[in-house]
Symmetry: C2
Subunit: 155 residues, 2 copies
DNA sequence: GAGATTTAGTTTCATCTGTAACCAATGGCA
DNA sequence: TGCCATTGGTTACAGATGAAACTAAATCTC
């Protein structure tokens, strides 16, 4: 459907539905919203909180700053989300011995439990989306998104 | 870099950096922010306003509701952005004769001018991003994103 | 080792966004 | 025709988000 009415020349006309940044935005929104809806209701987690749980689940002991880097969120967002997660007893923050400014973050038992239950849900959603593609297309997608992520870094 | 340490099995481990919804979100954000920065400074436009200008530039005479559909924004967002655009004299809204609830929207001369200057900028940004891909990859990307957009519709 | 600089994280404030309630006009339909 | 349901659009309120200012700890420099 998107193929028949593609752009005429290389850079001529701006057609919103064909404009890659727009399409990526719509795609990302649809996907994020669908997944977020599932764990928001079940666990009361926001996307930032979810990301932090995902990252700490695999890499406990990160500082807030490292979490910010790993999740590509800014430190304000991390600070707020961590505050909520500590509040809800899903993340434990203990001061770093060597640098009192730093917080060493890790999941509590409750946090681990959430992580253990949420990861399969997330992966299943991803699989549902990827079900639209065959193995070769998935590999292509992976590579293309990787390239674009690199390229977009220095836009 | 993303290829060497890919997922081990089909659905085993949740690794944020490899998780498609996450990657799409980061990609979309990087791209949108880069482009938005350019026209936000030059024209003082938000993303919703920009989208509306893009759509009305090609298809004048749409109603607010049709604009909402065309841009995939909700009607509240459209209402607000249109209000600003009317305020800044870039969009003209006249009541529909046949249905007094409807607004017929179109660009003013000023709006046209903004559109004419912004479209090339947007397309150039898109091209800069796509410069990372060759022709075959672009075609693949186009098709893949199309598939995913469809699939994501019913997530 | 005192003062300037940088760094980790928080708070503040202003703006944006999303949901729900709302208002007014239209379209049944009895 | 008069009432109800629907539709186009706006308003109101609450929560999310981002930039910049701020605090406190560490580091650097002389």
């Amino acid at each position: 459907m998107a193929s028949a009415k593609r752009k005429p020349g290389p850079t001529e006309l701006l057609v919103l539905e064909d404009f890659l940044p727009y399409r990526l935005s719509i795609l990302s929104n649809r996907v994020s919203r669908a997944i977020a809806a599932r764990y928001a209701k079940t666990f009361g987690l926001s996307i930032p909180e979810w990301r932090i749980i995902a990252v700490l689940g695999r890499r406990p002991g990160l500082t807030a700053k490292e979490v910010a880097e790993a999740t590509e969120m800014d430190k304000v967002a991390v600070s707020r989300a961590v505050a909520k997660l500590v509040e809800s007893k899903r993340v434990a923050a203990r001061a770093d011995r060597e640098d009192a400014r730093r917080q060493i973050l890790s999941l509590t038992a409750q946090g681990e439990s959430v992580h253990a239950r949420i990861a399969p849900i997330a992966l299943a959603s991803e699989q549902r989306l990827l079900a639209a593609l065959d193995a070769r297309e998935r590999a292509q997608l992976d590579a293309l998104v990787g390239h674009l992520l690199d390229a977009a870094k220095t836009l």
